[in-house]
């Protein structure tokens, strides 16, 4: 078991190192940070001073080593763009993204899974068709488009919700709907097909024959057996949630890390991008780890340690 966890841990470190290196290479080869940061019309002398100040005059390899060294020590460095510690900038933005993500994700779970179960139980009927139509709508509609539609409807016509920003519960409604719709739609579809697969199994018929009430059969016999694919989708969708946040935060002016990432990339603010990439990668790795653990809880065969 120790060996299993050691390998998992090393693999995680390796993944994060790959991610960080990849971000460094892509950013440095796609544009000069100095031009992006101090403007197109800066004179050569000004550019030189800036380069020296930030160590950008060093060979790329030296910059890379220094950078990875700092990362290993847990130092995220200083933002080139506003000269503040990167960790401060991220901590300032992280709560907003977490709040939005949790609400959107919570709503997606609460709506998506029951909707999927209901659709499976009413397979082929009107309810099933209606739910699946909404699900397709949910994951087929691009985030930015849905967001703008909501703004036009709720802010411009109805005038009941603020068009952007954060601060009150009312500000959270539209971004959360926009962000959660995709996940809810996906979850409903996966839950439906996973449930359909187990509803016809012999143990379900056996339970029915024993006289177990319908709600107990669904909740205690079918759902745990259908849970593995659902949990997998939940884990994978966490990535979608972060990717979606980039778009949703831009559309709604939500002050989270998604928009920070967009701003940092466009100004080649390497330190911020790297730190954010690391945060996002770590989140993904953690989510996958949690999914692995949940598999163990859900399925005794996996828990048995066959791996």
């Amino acid at each position: 078991m120790t060996r299993f966890w050691t390998i998992k841990f090393l693999r995680t470190i390796l993944t994060l190192w790959f991610v960080v290196t990849f971000a460094f290479v892509v950013l440095r080869t796609s544009g000069d940070p100095v031009v992006a940061l101090i403007g197109a019309d800066a004179l050569p002398a000004e550019i030189e001073q800036f380069r020296r100040q930030w160590g950008l005059d060093q060979p790329l390899f030296v910059q890379y080593l220094r950078y990875v060294g700092q990362m290993a020590l847990g130092e995220f460095g200083t933002s080139l763009r506003d000269q503040r510690p990167v960790i401060d900038i991220i901590m300032e933005r992280l709560p907003a993204t977490l709040a939005l993500g949790l609400v959107a994700y919570g709503a997606a779970l609460v709506i998506g899974i029951p909707a999927g179960i209901a659709a499976a139980l009413r397979r082929g009927r009107t309810l099933d068709r209606a739910i699946m139509a909404f699900a397709v709508f949910g994951f087929a509609l691009p985030n930015f488009f849905l967001g703008i539609l909501l703004i036009l409807f709720f802010s411009l016509f109805l005038q009941i919700l603020p068009s952007s920003g954060s601060g009150t519960l009312a500000h959270l409604v539209m971004p959360a709907i926009t962000l959660g719709t995709f996940t809810a739609g996906t979850l409903a579809r996966f839950t439906r097909s996973a449930m359909l697969e187990v509803l016809d199994r012999p143990y379900m018929r056996a339970a029915a024959a024993k006289g177990v009430p319908a709600w107990k059969r669904v909740l205690f016999h079918a759902l745990p057996n259908a849970a593995i694919p659902i949990v997998t989708v939940i884990g994978l969708n966490l990535g979608q949630l972060i990717a979606g946040a980039i778009v949703v935060e831009t559309v709604f002016g939500w002050p989270g890390i998604g928009r920070l990432l967009v701003q940092a990339v466009s100004s080649r603010d390497l330190a911020v991008v790297q730190a954010l990439v690391l945060v996002i990668a770590a989140t993904m790795v953690l989510a996958n780890l949690l999914v692995d653990l949940l598999y163990g809880l859900l399925d005794p065969r996996i828990r048995g340690g066959a791996r």
């Binding site: 796609s30 544009g31 000069d32 031009v35 992006a36 101090i38 403007g39 197109a40 019309d41 800066a42 004179l43 050569p44 002398a45 000004e46 001073q49 800036f50 933002s79 763009r81 506003d82 000269q83 503040r84 300032e92 933005r93 967001g147 703008i148 703004i151 036009l152 802010s155 411009l156 016509f157 109805l158 005038q159 009941i160 919700l161 603020p162 068009s163 952007s164 920003g165 009150t168 519960l169 009312a170 831009t250 559309v251 709604f252 002016g253 002050p255 928009r259 920070l260 701003q263 466009s266 100004s267 080649r268």
Partner: protein
Amino acid sequence: MITRRTFGKYSIGVGALAFPGYARPLRAQGERPTLTVAVDNLWANIAPINGISTTTRRFFPNFYSHLVERDYISDEQGIELKPGLATEWSRDGKVWTLKLREGVKFHNGETMTAEDVAFTLGPERLWGEEPFEPRGKTFTAGFVRVEAVDDLTVEIETAEEDPFIPGKLTGYIGFVVPKAYYLEVGVDAFGQAPVGTGPYSVATFRSGEVLELEAFDEYWDGPPPAARVVWRIVPEFAGRMAGLVSGEFDFMVNIPTDQEPQLESYDGVTVARALASNYPAFAFNTRADPENNPLVDVNLRKGMVQAIDMHAIVQALFGDKTFHPDVPFNFPEYGDYYRPDMENPLPYDPEAAREKIAASGYDGQVLDWHITRQFYPNYEAAAEIMVEMWRQVGVNVRAEILDNFELVYTRPYHMMNMSMSTDFIPGDPYQPLWLDWGPTSSRATAQWKTWDPTPEYLAAGREFEAAITFEERQAAFEKLRQAWLDVYPGYYLWKSVYNWAHRADIEWIARPDGEMRMFGDYLTLPA
């Protein structure tokens, strides 16, 4: 029938039920309001020079004050200067003497002295070896000494006689900073929590989100009309529009030209415009880099200029909201230097264009035009039409729309987009003809440079720099412009238009420099 408008009315009732907490606070009689401005962007750093940008220019004068002001209220072109933090200025040879306003307070309670002004304009901050705000060098060329003579007197000495110092002080370098606080916190921290002498002080600044200003009642020109001014980033145009129409915002910036009628159709919304002191343009790459660059031949460049019917393009894209300057550097904002009747040496004439292009020996090779995506309104649309006009006369241009300026600056290219301001010295043709094209400009020195100034241009430029009287300067300017026109290294498209929208019951005067002044004669709030 429920129409769009009545639908809105009904739904407001529904909304009041749904979110009782979300309603604009009612204002008690006589109490000053909070104004909210929806902007597309703020800036990472809001120190006066390190923070130079179109987006910062909007709000800077609300918390920094200039030494010298441009008077746009009595003169549309703003050529007249009037006192700001400096009340008088006079020149004796190479030395300018500024008299400062008495009793001006900084937001931190300190009183402004000549020491602060000398530091603001001095080598330590702007033009020394390793200055705090290195871009200051561009705006302080020729400065050799800045000194506080007594509490309210400052002297500026320049290497050559420079009659234009007061005009230059209307720009970013004229925003006065408090020396002690600036040195105590350092330039980077200052850029996050700046202190100035303007009518509002900075209460909160989060660069990616919001800038909140608070009334500063000790402002030298009297208390400002609003209690707070909040500049909030709303990246999406639909969000800015929805918020303005619903009353959530009082002002918004940056309206796509084709969306103006939509906004104007709403009750309670006014669209404001101003012709900016700025011209989008393109540069011809006149150098043999790439080696086989056919644009090194001036005939091809002039032929291409004569193939463009720019008046028709401007009319199609902007209507009457702006214009195309027929002759480069003959701009109306140049006051006495402007000649409305000047003849265009290269008018639209496809026949003449074909002749010149044939004379150049151009063989039909593709010319790459690097353009920054969505940077100048309508630029891409105009480029598309120009490419077609050039095709008509046998020139093959490929407009490459690129994501950012780094890509635009990446060689090889034959043409590139740019824009140039005209307001560094109010009413004077110094910029862009000499400042932005001259021998020290990035256009002539950077890795991506597009031309090498000709000997004639350099000689005329030196004469222009040394000229003191209007007559001398005008003569030198005409010579300098002719030297530029002889080689035609670029082309000016139209005068930029800034636009804004605001609540219709607010009276507000827009300025061509893009400043959004929430005080003084520029803003009148409803009683």
